[in-house]
């Protein structure tokens, strides 16, 4: 009985820094965030430490705020449309690159670039490409006889613009995960399908797609968690505007807490906590799905 106990001591000594770190730098900030949302904080109350407790007032205010409806709608549209396109394009590219033609490994590596670039770099490049007067996108549209679009300054187009940029950034992630899923499908299955006279289209829908379902589920769920929290792209390209035409929960929270001279920390924290609840719902579904797959 003595050996395992001393082993446990060493095990926990090695874990201790991480556990302390998680408590101080994860749990405590999250706790402060909840506390912020349940009290009425102003900058002064921060310094004096005497913010009054107001219960769920901040949440009620957030729900009644005229920005709530649009922010909810934009968050949903941004997330769902981004994921549909990222997944579909990522899947098509994964199947294409799986055919191992010359240069395929190098080209596949190049596809990672958008995902690895600092978001401020991608966002500022897209901002200039989508510029109404001097952007290359409008210039190309012009050669096809399409009149210029005010991508970032028109309320009708701002959300579309940030979605386009976000799809571009997310394609590599989908490509890489789906590609690794494809590599786990046995080549024998395709050979058998060929012998049975299946064409490539049938092979995809009858072999690839069903066998990739577990990996696809994981890709989409992780995509949901990651896309819900996208902030940089939207804030840098449009600041959630014009008006609140591209405001999501993430940018709204930042806008309330840090975007103006007179910050509203408490409602900002309330919006943030709504976001975390959404992210955790999908996160838990993801973990459940992964566990189930490990068991089977």
């Amino acid at each position: 009985m003595k050996r395992p106990r001393s082993g446990q001591w060493a095990a926990w000594a090695f874990l201790a820094p991480l556990v302390i770190y998680m408590v101080v730098f994860y749990a405590y900030p999250l706790f402060r965030n909840v506390e912020l949302s349940l009290k009425d904080y102003t900058v002064r109350a921060f310094v004096q430490g005497n913010a009054p407790f107001v219960g769920f007032d901040n949440y009620i205010k957030v729900f009644q705020n005229p920005t709530f409806g649009p922010a909810f709608l934009h968050t949903a549209l941004f997330t769902v449309i981004s994921i549909i396109f990222q997944f579909a394009i990522g899947m098509a590219l994964a199947v294409f690159f799986h055919q191992n033609f010359r240069l395929s490994a190098t080209l596949r590596a190049l596809f990672l670039v958008p995902w690895l670039l600092p978001l401020i770099v991608s966002a500022s490049t897209w901002s200039w490409m989508l510029n109404s007067d001097s952007g290359v996108v409008n210039s190309v549209l012009h050669t096809f006889g399409i009149s210029p679009v005010n991508w970032l300054t028109s309320p009708n187009w701002a959300l579309t613009s940030v979605i386009i940029a976000n799809i571009w950034i997310g394609i590599p992630f989908n490509l890489v995960i789906l590609y690794s899923g494809l590599q786990n499908i046995s080549a024998d299955l395709y050979e058998a399908a060929s012998l049975d006279g299946a064409n490539s289209w049938q092979k995809f829908w009858r072999v690839t797609f069903p066998l990739l379902r577990p990996v696809s589920a994981i890709t989409i769920l992780l995509g949901l968690v990651y896309t819900l929290k996208v902030f940089d792209i939207i804030w840098i390209m449009t600041r959630g505007g014009p008006g609140n035409a591209s405001t999501t929960f993430a940018t709204w929270s930042y806008q309330l807490g840090f975007g103006s001279v007179l910050p509203d920390f408490s409602p900002a924290a309330a919006v943030g906590n709504l976001l975390i609840v959404l992210a955790l719902i999908f996160g838990l579904v993801y973990i459940r799905t992964q566990r189930k797959q490990d068991l089977s």
Binding site: L18, Y28, P29, L30, W115, W126, Y254
Partner: protein, 272 residues
């Protein structure tokens, strides 16, 4: 199909890659465009008369920002590896009670939106009076990488043969000695992977920089670019030149550690 490698697929692959990387090309093209040609319609598709005025602006104005980001990035790497490597060794080899729960917490931790962490850190730092300090920013940036680091390290260390660790024990090495002299050197590849990602994420971070270090004397390159866009939206060659320079760590990561990158992306998502 074997042995036959149709050229048209390579051609299609090149075209698709070119389309995908067009924004990157455009960033470089604009960074070399003279200010006088910036508003030309249609824009110049190739930098036929390249100018380096944008890059001169980077050197004269952005060097302090780049230096700050370098320090913050390196600090984040050190903190991340120091916290996550020993913990991962414990999770992978020493089988502590409660490791399932800890793994679960680490998974959840990766899903917390940055804006929420930023708000919590802001409240704490404001009360402690440590807003606008570099080490405060380093701590915040490391929270992006630590759960990922533990995941990568423990996946790798689980593959180290137990015989190797037993042999060290028989030679009289304690757990710490075994970790330092056997486990860490063997895990070199995973240290590279975790370090590269931790550096890149700290380097790219905008949300913590702007909230926790927005008023600091030493600011990061992401804020440098952000202010550039806000202040003088005429000099796009300077903005894009800064963006090109800020992309250097991405290029380094891709060249040095391409295979680890793909491994890093999939590590959290797919277990095989």
């Amino acid at each position: 199909m074997n042995g036959k490698r149709p050229i048209w697929k390579t051609a299609l692959g090149v075209v698709l890659s070119a389309l995908m990387l067009f924004p990157v090309y455009w960033m470089i093209n604009v960074s070399l465009t003279p200010a006088s040609a910036m508003r030309k319609s249609p824009p110049d598709w190739f930098p036929l008369q390249p100018t380096f005025e944008g890059y001169q602006a980077v050197i004269s104005q952005q060097l302090p920002y780049l230096g700050t980001s370098l320090i913050v990035g390196l600090g984040t790497v050190v903190l991340t590896v120091a916290i996550s490597a020993p913990a991962a060794y414990s999770l992978a080899k020493l089988r502590p009670a409660g490791r399932g729960a800890l793994n679960f917490v680490l998974l959840i931790a990766q899903m917390i939106p940055g804006i929420i962490m930023a708000m919590g850190f802001y409240a704490i730092y404001l009360n402690l009076g440590i807003l606008n300090t570099l080490w405060g920013l380093i701590i915040a940036d490391s929270t992006i990488a630590v759960p990922f680091g533990v995941l990568i390290f423990s996946a790798f260390m689980a593959g180290i043969p137990n015989e190797l660790i037993q042999a060290a024990k028989i030679d009289g090495a304690g757990t710490w000695r075994t970790f330092r002299s056997i486990v860490m050197p063997v895990s070199r590849n995973s240290i590279v992977t975790v370090s590269l990602f931790a550096f890149l994420w700290a380097w790219s971070d905008f949300i913590f920089s702007s909230t926790l270090n927005g008023g600091g004397t030493l600011q990061t390159i992401t804020l440098g670019i952000y202010k550039y866009i806000g202040n003088n939206n005429q000099e796009w060659n300077a903005i894009m030149a800064t963006a090109v320079v800020a992309s250097i760590p991405t290029a380094v990561l891709l060249v040095l550690a391409q295979k680890y990158v793909a491994a890093g992306v999939t590590a959290g998502a797919v277990k095989d």
